[in-house]
Amino acid sequence: MAYTLDRTYEERIRRFSSQRYGLYLAIVSMLMLFAALTSAYIVRRSAGNWLEFELPSIFYINTVVIVLSSITLHTSWHLFKKGNKAGYRLLMVLTFILGITFLVMQYMGWQEMTAQGLYLQVNPSASFIYVISGIHAAHLIGGLGTLIVAMAHAFRLRFKVTEIRKHRFELVIIYWHFVDLLWLYLLVFFVFI
């Protein structure tokens, strides 16, 4: 039973691209989840008995917050590649703070809805907003988890621009952009559909 999982450099690079593939596939399955929920929204809406209401205004402000967080993370990535240690760390922390802010403000948005009497149970139109934005928030919390790992790397490891570090950072960015774009899609969906 002599064996080793020897990895040549080439095999390791392939492993990176495997992780990227894997992440993209995971994103596809998450998209299917949201596609199903938003299709259910359309089907249910066309069946009638649908309460129309304005989205909480805080959702719009929040959209700016999450887009900003994508920009800060992307800038952090560029600074990392340029070897700007301080800037890279700062913007990553800033991204994390913006992420938390988004969560808090989503919560305030839900409170704004309940303040108008739009409880979860009132009408499926309101239920859908809670459920869909809630599941999106759960995905954002997953993104915050990956950011915590990325920050641990940024602050605990000796600063060095390597292929492996770049690759890890890329995975975080892909996921974070996904969560951001997903929110943009949901907002557009809620407003126009």
């Binding site: 039973m1 002599a2 064996y3 080793t4 999982l5 020897d6 990895r7 040549t8 450099y9 390791r12 392939r14 492993r15 691209s17 495997s18 992780q19 593939y21 894997g22 992440l23 596939l25 995971a26 596809v28 399955s29 998450m30 299917m32 989840l33 596609a35 199903a36 929920l37 259910a40 089907v43 249910r44 069946a47 009638g48 008995n49 649908w50 979860l120 149970q121 009408n123 499926p124 239920s127 859908f128 459920v131 599941i135 988890g145 990956t146 790992v149 490891l157 060095k160 390597t162 292929e163 492996i164 570090r165 890890r168 995975l171």
Partner: protein, 616 residues
């Protein structure tokens, strides 16, 4: 998810930056194989995970089959005393005057659990989980899956899902009993029936964990096939098994999240008082406040998974049968590219036919017509496959061993089960046939028994690859012929029941004069089911006996097959090949070419054309 893997690589990173050598830290794979627990339980080796899926699937198959025997006894012998089952079923056998009767509630629970277990735990996890894990790395030439860790998690999420479902069997209110499709309102209202409370909650939680398992597995399978093929293994040189597993994984990745969305909304309806699927319901004389929901919406979401799910079950069997048939007919598979394209066509069509499960649910008949059309089109790629299998056998130098017999039996079942699909795909005929035993017969033959035959073909064929020994051929042939005849004996008569309008899921038919004369037929079906069950026990005995005492595999490539899994040492460890991974120079089906079988590893001769990769 990815982050855990990344942290593990930290040590690699330092070795990598400090100098340009890469081999200093490469033995980190070994530490996962050091003890009993990491080798047999929390294994990251795809070969061990494959065995875990297979044996867990067998466990569930036995449970599911025993359940079917209990409800078959009820259907075949409704007046018989069931007191002897009381030690096992406890309060679900009610006793009056010393006569034991199966509780009707529990009859429904048995039917529901039989469906759930067989569809998800046995024919999804047990079939594609086993063979994707075993064959993908071995046949494409990879040391393991893209992520052994996620692969391990995939199995353990399946195990967790199974544990939760198993626990639900022992609830005092019983497991969920509203049918495996879990339609609301039975699934959405905890007070609807006894299994709708805690039983349904555990059903929903179990299925969510199950989907996590399928998705982790699927991501791995797709990534591995696309990214980790050995040198020379182009897509058009892949064995058909791998194509089948790839497409299966893609189907799962796209459809299972939709089931999750349905279950999420169901959980909200159950626990938080929303009305996604509920409207204007009176229950126990009391009007519920839920207004405006649509149970049909659930059906749309469910069948958007549910229909691809039947292909998730049958497509791996397509792949296994094609491969086994080609090896044992010692002929190239007929129409390799047509086989691949027909799998792809079936996969695409799988997503646009879901409403044929809902013809009688109040779907607009004009929309139903479109679904009829797409449904019937599936017959075309299916017929291509059947034609190619038969053409592969034609003039072949056939070894009639057990694996081959099961492959041929698969084709028989796929034809007879497929033909009844053409009946059911018509929305007009469905008015008579829906929810009758005709439907039961159709799907049991075409996706139940047929998929089992594919699985058996795979188990008998690749048993040496799993355990370095062979299963007993005599017992195998008894198993095959008994099951082949027995399965038809069970399901063929059901077509007649169904055409006569006998509805499925009924507890007994004593009160219906129209169905009274089918009593003997039901007896016959039940007796056949009992015999077939014991034949499967025989197969299990053969399986476990052969693990320890079977004839030893002495040569590396016992079937003289061309694919890469037979270049791996017998009882290979984690990493599969001890030396370099072999390179591939040709497609997988050069059987009897110039009088011999040429393995994929052999370079092309002068002027020789590669059948998989011809550019002409």
């Amino acid at each position: 998810m990815a982050s855990i893997d990344i942290i593990k690589q930290d040590e690699l990173e330092h070795g990598h930056d400090d100098h340009h050598g890469h081999d200093d830290h490469d033995h980190h794979g070994d530490k996962y194989q050091s003890g009993f627990i990491t080798h047999y339980i929390f294994s990251t080796d795809h070969k061990m995970i494959s065995k875990q899926f297979l044996i867990t699937g067998m466990f569930w198959a036995v449970i599911g089959a025993l359940m079917s025997l209990v409800f078959r006894l009820q259907l075949g012998f409704p007046e018989e005393n069931m007191l002897w089952l009381k030690p096992i079923l406890g309060k679900w056998i009610t006793v009056s005057d010393g006569i034991g009767t199966l509780a009707p509630d529990f009859y429904y629970a048995l039917v529901t659990m039989h469906g759930t277990i067989l569809v998800f735990f046995v024919l999804t996890a047990g079939l594609s989980g086993t063979f994707s894990n075993l064959l993908i790395p071995l046949q494409i030439g990879a040391r393991d899956m893209a992520s052994g860790f996620l692969n391990m998690l995939s199995y353990w999420f399946f195990f967790l899902a199974g544990t939760i479902m198993f626990a639900s069997l022992f609830l005092s209110t019983g497991p969920f009993a509203g049918g495996w499709t879990a339609y609301p309102p039975l699934s959405a209202l905890p007070q609807a029936m006894s299994g709708s409370g805690a039983g349904m909650t555990l059903w929903a939680v179990s299925l969510i964990f199950f989907v996590v398992s399928v998705l982790l597995g699927g991501m791995n399978y797709i990534t591995t096939v696309l990214n980790l093929r050995t040198k020379g293994m182009t897509m058009w040189r892949l064995p058909l098994t791998i194509w089948a597993f790839l497409v299966t994984a893609i189907l799962g990745l796209l459809s299972f999240p939709v089931l999750v969305s349905a279950i999420f909304l169901l959980i909200f309806d159950r626990s938080l008082g929303t009305s996604f699927f509920l409207s204007e319901i009176f229950i126990q004389g009391e009007a519920l406040s839920n207004v405006g929901g649509s149970p049909i919406l659930y059906q749309h979401l469910f069948w958007f998974l549910g229909h691809p799910e039947v292909y998730i079950i049958i497509v791996p069997a397509f792949g296994i049968v094609s491969e086994v048939m080609s090896v044992h007919a010692r002929k190239p598979i007929f129409g390799y590219k047509a086989m691949v394209l027909s799998i792809l066509a079936i996969a695409i069509l799988a997503f646009i036919v879901w409403a044929h499960h809902m013809f009688m649910s109040g779907v607009n008949p004009f929309i139903a017509n479109i679904f009829v059309l797409f449904t019937l089109i599936i017959a075309v790629p299916s017929a291509v496959k059947v034609f190619n299998w038969i053409a592969t056998l034609w003039g072949g130098n056939i070894r009639f061993n057990t694996a081959m017999l099961f492959s041929i039996g698969f084709v028989s079942l796929f034809i007879s089960g497929g033909l009844t699909g053409i009946f059911l795909g018509n929305s007009a005929i469905d008015i008579q046939l829906h929810d009758t035993y005709f439907v039961v017969a159709h799907f049991h033959i075409v996706m139940g028994i047929a998929a089992f035959f594919g699985m058996y073909a795979g188990v008998y064929h690749w048993f040496p690859r799993l355990y370095g020994r062979f299963m007993n051929e005599t017992l195998g042939k008894i198993h095959f012929w008994g099951t082949m005849i027995g399965a038809y004996a069970i399901f063929w008569p059901m077509h007649y029941l169904g055409m006569a309008g006998v509805p499925r899921r009924y507890y007994k038919f004593g009160n219906f004069d129209a169905f009274a004369h089918f009593g003997d037929m039901n007896k016959f079906i039940t007796i056949a089911a009992i015999i077939v069950f014991f034949l499967q026990v025989l197969m299990l005995i053969n399986f476990f006996y052969s693990i320890f005492r079977g004839k030893k595999q002495t040569t590396l490539n016992p079937y003289d097959a061309n694919t890469l899994e037979w270049t791996v040492p017998i009882n290979a460890g984690h990493g599969n090949w001890s030396g370099e991974i072999p390179h591939v120079h040709r497609w997988a089906y050069d059987y009897s070419k110039g009088g011999r079988n040429i393995p994929q590893t052999e370079p092309l001769g002068d002027g020789e054309q590669d059948m998989g990769n011809d550019h002409h």
